[in-house]
């Protein structure tokens, strides 16, 4: 693990009407090479935090830094090193898979040789190479998810942010994604992802953050948090302590 903070969230809060806080004083750090799992109940504030991190959602309180750049003040610098995979990717349905990948590669200014190599590699791994010439509207949910993952990996991001990435993926694709995450983490990429599947988080992550009602109720390394128990037990314990 490197000691470079790739994602720093400092006292981030997000309020909606009537002062209701979807995220309340959230602070966490993901270092380069970390795989950080972000877990919590439905509506706990995971997606709200993730969408603020990737510059989609506006916020008023706190600060979010990516690779030392502020999401508020230097959004483009942050987005250039980040990749985001939403839980339900809304892609351009009337483009073909390859047209969409080329669009993203163009946005990140990826050379023809590099994009060719990466698209081949990841499309083969996810077994959708032969489908790339079809319109995205003809894809299944899982295939769209795979395409969104490939488009996120195409520029070799320093920070990979994923919202429930395993939902809709078949077992083989889930395994492939986990392998890719390990590979990227070894190369120094920081990964921050939300999940409900605690078994996956336990096997994959070296760091865990638990959020409830918009507030972080527990965080630390996997070892610190579990202390000989399973992550499921640690989660339920943290959850019951907060009641």
């Amino acid at each position: 693990m490197s000691d470079k903070a790739m994602l720093e969230i400092r006292h981030y809060s997000k309020s909606y009407g009537e002062g209701k806080k979807a995220a309340d004083d959230v602070s966490l750090t993901v270092m380069s090479g970390d795989i950080c799992g972000f877990i919590g109940h439905n509506g706990a504030g995971k997606s709200t935090t993730i969408r603020a991190v990737v510059g989609v959602l506006d916020f008023t309180e706190g600060e979010i830094l990516i690779d030392g750049h502020s999401v508020k003040d230097e959004p483009l610098a942050c987005k250039r090193v980040t990749a985001y995979i939403p839980d339900n990717p809304d892609l351009y349905e009337n483009l073909t898979g390859i047209q969409y990948l080329n669009f993203v590669a163009d946005v990140f200014n990826i050379s023809a040789a590099e994009r060719d190599e990466r698209i081949r590699k990841y499309a083969d791994l996810f077994e959708i190479t032969s489908d790339l010439g079809d319109l995205i509207s003809a894809y299944s949910h899982g295939m769209k998810q795979k395409l969104a993952i490939i488009s996120a990996l195409i520029h070799n991001p320093k920070l990979l942010v994923l919202d429930e990435p395993f939902v809709g993926l078949d077992p083989k694709a889930s395994y492939t994604l986990k392998e890719i995450m390990h590979e990227m983490c070894a190369a120094g990429t920081a990964i921050f992802f939300s999940t409900h599947v605690l078994d996956v988080a336990e096997k994959l992550c070296n760091k865990v953050v638990i959020i409830k009602n918009g507030r972080i109720i527990s965080s630390g390394s996997m070892q610190e948090l579990t202390e000989g128990h399973s992550l499921e037990e640690a989660f339920l314990e943290a959850d019951s302590d907060e009641k």
Partner: protein
């Protein structure tokens, strides 16, 4: 600049029928797109024909010098109105917002490209008007050959300023509503207000001109258009550029358009994320207490679902409910100000006996209540949620009946209010008023059923944005355009026939005819439900 071009190119490609034709495997879908293209081509040809005839009329009566101003005003008015109703769906709260904003694009780039996308998509309509009028102008005025390229070049800039003005109004509505908890409702109310203000603006402007005692100004159409150019500078710049070849006016039109674009999207970009955050994210109140539930019929449940679909979308609300709101407003205005005064304002003081208009009252009301049928867009608006109704134990005919019930629930009350107001103001005898109400009901039933025929026959579920269905869908276009012309024609026909035959007899005949047409359309919908 590279990113702007790339994004615009992708936005256009992502909604291009040609891409689907080239890569899609669904033959039915490809055939639909082909027919859609042919239909659009026919509409372009119709528009060219109408503009050419208009220009020919100007030329025949020796008023060809007014053609450039008329061309500029027509394009500007169309661009303003169309953009005003589309801007909320295109610029804000669109489906792929998260995907786009997570890529390294500046907010102003995304907003600017969305505007340019809107511009490119509507440009063919404006070019049809412009080129048809250029042909007429060239035929009658025989201008210098350099005027042709200048006219064509400036045609690309003419819609920009009104589109920017409409987008800015949409931005203001979204910006103000972002500060409220009920964002959608505030945005809808503000959009309605802006649209209605623009609708009535014409009369205020004419009033101002009249108060200035400009003699005989409205006695000739060409004078009216020329005077309009007096306060709408882009039309004046265009007219001077193409009639006098003035380089200053060319520069003014091009320069001001470009400058305004830069300024507007710098302002829009600064609040873009804030607005979209407010529009796309909603707090869960978590306050609900379980109470006794009520059972309602399937039809009511579907109609209620339609209501929530409408109130949840500013674009749908402003387009779908505008006619009904206008009907009520016109009715109340007529009641308060008097039919004589309103008719005098609309016809610029033409000596029209309001008694003549009595038989046309149901059709005047229908002009507004039938302006848009929610049934034309609601089948397509199911979109990706279509699986919900498909997987439920509901017959298609029940689903369509529910959709028709919803449109009737919107149309009939507004028709009743408007008709009663107009009848009181026009001093229509009670039996005649009762017949007009029945006729109004029959017209509502017809527009609902005919809208549903269009909506079902041209159902399209694979859209990216509400606007594609609500404003630009084939079903809506096929419903709106002919219906608009027929409604206007019926008003004139009712006035003419009303002068020659008994009003009650005329109303009875119309009731029978319209009811038969409504029944026919309803049967058609039921037949489509079986397919």
């Amino acid at each position: 600049m590279k990113n702007e071009i790339l994004l615009l190119k992708t936005l256009l490609l992502s909604t291009s029928g040609r891409n689907i034709m080239k890569y899609g495997r669904d033959k039915k879908k490809r055939r639909k797109i082909l027919w859609g293209m042919i239909g659009t081509g026919i509409l372009y040809a119709l528009l060219i024909g109408v503009c050419a005839v208009m220009c020919f009329g100007y030329g025949t009566f020796g008023m060809i010098d007014s053609a450039p101003v008329l061309c500029a005003l027509m394009i500007s008015a169309m661009a303003f109105v169309f953009t005003l109703f589309k801007t909320n769906g295109y610029l804000f709260n669109f489906r792929e917002y998260d995907m786009l904003m997570s890529l390294p694009f500046a907010s102003k780039t995304v907003a600017g490209c969305k505007f340019l996308y809107m511009y490119v998509k509507s440009l063919p309509w404006y070019l049809c008007i412009s080129l048809a009028m250029l042909a007429g102008y060239g035929w009658f005025a025989r201008p210098h050959f350099l005027i042709y390229p200048v006219w064509v070049l400036l045609s690309f800039f003419l819609p920009v300023i009104p589109m920017l003005a409409a987008s800015f109004l949409g931005f203001l509505a979204a910006r103000i509503s972002a500060g409220f908890r009920k964002t959608n409702i505030v945005q809808t109310v503000l959009s309605f207000t802006f649209a209605l203000l623009c609708f009535f603006m014409r009369f205020f402007i004419e009033k101002l001109i009249k108060d200035d005692q400009v003699e005989m100004m409205l006695s000739r159409v060409s004078d009216a258009t020329d005077s309009a150019a007096g306060f709408y500078f882009p039309a004046r710049w265009f007219a001077r550029a193409v009639t006098k070849g003035s380089p200053l006016d060319i520069l003014l039109l091009v320069g001001v358009s470009a400058l305004l674009f830069a300024v507007v999207f710098r302002i829009v970009g600064s609040s873009y994320r804030n607005i979209n955050s407010a529009l796309k994210s909603h707090a869960a109140a978590k306050k609900y207490k379980m109470t006794a539930q009520r059972q309602s019929s399937v039809l009511h449940a579907i109609a209620f679902k339609e209501l929530k679909r409408m109130t949840g979308s500013t674009v749908y609300m402003t387009n779908g409910a505008m006619g009904f709101v206008l009907a009520v407003l016109i009715g109340v205005l007529v009641l308060v100000l008097g039919l004589d005064r309103i008719v005098s304002t609309v016809t610029n003081g033409a000596p029209i006996d309001t008694g003549m208009l009595q038989p046309a009252i149901p059709f005047i009301v229908y002009f507004f209540t039938g302006m848009y049928a929610t049934t034309a867009s609601s089948p397509s608006l199911e979109g990706k949620n279509y699986w919900i109704v498909q997987s439920l134990p509901i017959e298609k005919k029940t689903l369509y009946r529910g959709k028709m019930l919803f449109n009737m629930c919107l149309g009939v009350p507004s028709m009743i209010i408007s008709t009663i107001c107009l009848c009181i103001s026009a001093k229509v005898p009670l039996p005649n008023a009762a017949l007009y109400l029945i006729l109004g009901f029959a017209l509502c039933a017809f527009s609902t059923a005919w809208g549903c025929v269009c909506g079902v026959r041209h159902m399209r579920l694979d859209w990216e944005n509400d606007v594609e269905v609500v404003k630009q869908g084939a079903a809506v276009t096929i419903y709106i355009l002919p219906n608009l012309f027929v409604a206007m024609g019926l008003v004139v026909l009712a006035v003419i026939l009303g002068m020659r035959m008994d009003h009650r007899l005329l109303a009875l005949a119309a009731i029978l005819l319209v009811s038969a047409l409504a029944a026919l359309c309803y049967r058609w919908v039921m037949a489509l439900a079986k397919e």
